[in-house]
């Protein structure tokens, strides 16, 4: 009897915690969406400037979030460009080549890197800049490149962990197949393992992009500004969506600017969720493909793939 009461209490506890979380999240995101969705439209992005002129940069946009979107896009491209090769390479090394000892140490390094708070990563970028100024480049300044380097470091662990996970989730028989076919290291990677794990790795890239798109603290210390127009170059300061939201939250002057803040928050929210959904779809396909596959059938499948 007491046991039953105990269990009922647990069920109530579960119900309360689920409800509280759901209500909290729904209220916060609901406010953003309810006030942000009506703001969406060309005026939010470009203000009074005609879209074509704004996109080509012919006319600067001062009352729209287009420069911030372009800045975030540039930041994402440069940061991912810097992080993708080392991240995936390190993941492959951890999954396939590393000795057990290296695996433990490198695993710790990756976890530590993942735990570095983003503001500390920004501070690291700042110290890097101070060091550069004192040594080789006296007139180095904050800008797109510095911010991208720090963001790349921030998303590196995501890439390493997903690549490693995607490779280690492959059935062991697949590696044996490679060896049995007489393929060397390169052949196994190129023809068997990477094609099989490719979607998982790509999903990791999307997750990393989402992480890079939302981070505010890093870029705050490394070169983002509230109003500068389209990103002009690697050494130049830039605008970015998350910082625009942060800036507008405290510095808005009228209802229109506040509305723009809600619009920007909605755009960033939708962008983040879209990237997550993409990653999730890719990884689900990968899981489906290898779930309960008989060793024989997938050996046949892969050997056909090679031909």
């Amino acid at each position: 009897m007491r046991r039953c009461a105990n269990l009922a209490l647990w069920r109530i506890f579960v119900m309360v915690s689920m409800t509280v979380t759901l209500v909290g999240v729904a209220a916060l995101l609901g406010v953003v969406l309810m006030r942000g969705l009506p703001a969406l439209g060309p005026a939010l992005l470009f203000g009074d400037v005609s879209p074509l002129a704004a996109m080509t940069g012919a006319v600067p946009v001062w009352d729209g979030i287009w420069p911030a979107c372009a800045g975030t896009f540039a930041l994402l491209m440069v940061a991912l460009g810097l992080a993708v090769l080392p991240g995936i390479g390190c993941g492959i090394h951890l999954a396939l080549f590393a000795s057990p000892r290296t695996r433990v140490l490198l695993g710790l390094a990756v976890d530590l890197l993942a735990g570095v708070p983003s503001i500390v990563m920004g501070l690291f970028g700042f110290t890097l800049l101070l060091a550069l100024r004192r040594t080789v480049a006296p007139d180095a300044s904050t800008g797109l490149l510095l911010a991208s380097v720090c963001l790349a470091l921030l998303v590196l662990p995501v890439l390493v962990v997903t690549t490693r996970g995607a490779l280690e989730a492959l059935p062991a028989q697949l590696r044996l197949t490679g060896a049995a076919l007489g393929l060397d290291t390169w052949g196994r990677l190129r023809h068997l393992l990477l094609p099989a794990a490719g979607r998982g790795i790509l999903g990791g890239v999307l997750l990393a992009a989402g992480r890079a798109a939302e981070d505010t603290a890093v870029i705050m210390l490394t070169g983002v500004v509230a109003s500068v127009g389209l990103p002009a170059g690697l050494g130049e300061r830039f605008e970015a969506l998350p910082f625009t939201i942060f800036y507008l939250s405290s510095q808005y002057r009228d209802a229109v600017e506040l509305q723009r803040g809600f619009g920007a928050a909605t755009v960033l929210l939708v962008l983040s969720l879209t990237l997550l959904a993409g990653a999730w779809l890719l990884q689900r396909v990968l899981e489906r493909k290898w779930r309960g596959v008989l060793p024989v059938s997938h050996c046949q499948g892969t050997s056909e793939d090679i031909r």
């Binding site: 069920r11 976890d111 890197l113 110290t127």
Partner: protein, 290 residues
Amino acid sequence: MLRRWKGGVVTTVCALCAASVALALVAIFAFLCLFALPVFMDGQGFAVIAGDWKPATGSYGVLPMLQASMGVAGIALVLGFPLSLGICCGMNGLAPSGVGQMFRGLVRCLTAVPTVVYGFAALFLLVPLVREAAGRGTGLCWLTASLVLALLVVPTMVLVMEAGMGPTVERVRLTGAAMGLNRGQVMVHMVLPLCWRHMAGAAALGFGRAMGDTLLPLMLAGNAVQSPGSPLESVRTLTAHIALVLATDSRSGTYGSLFVAGCLLLLLNLAVQLVLRVLARSGAQFRGRT
């Protein structure tokens, strides 16, 4: 010949990538320590950590910020941990399976919600509520920041707990059924006692995440430098301190405190990872014995 050459290149490139990741970590620790070292050597010694923040008298201790960080993250953990535990139990048999499935998807979505969006929404929704409820102040206080942080760390903690509970549920299901327990009873009497390590790990990681977050304390906690007294007072965390000082101040003493704050946050990160390793190791030994 060419093939062997290619294989060698691939393994070398991968090893180099791995080395670069390790190098990046070493560089981060080294740079911050190098910049923090002169502050310690500058005659202030450990006063930069344990001292008070009184720039007028040349005292740049970060103690109030450290206390504030601990306080904000502590309350966030106290509020967020039960929520996570409840959700995780619900996903593993204490709630209807449809609800559990829905929460699985929801928790994954929540990991992607940008922090700044939470902060922005809370500024216009929660801050007025807290202001009304408190009857004084601006509503920008310790409590407000902790409330939203609690929500922010829930997905992190749920995912860590679930990583332990999911497989455990699978493992003990038959045993439980043989003893005549239903899914809920299996959860409460078998899975929870077996999974305390994962819960402790989730708490450690959630605390680290809450202490490392910048935007929510910066936007919601008010940022007045003082030792936290009541939850309705304005406080400034270590992370917010770094962001604020770099944006506004440039006196050397305040600059030095930044690197000290950065080092403290790195040490916290190190401590969290060590706790997780110790828990994982003891868990492995435990499983080895049974």
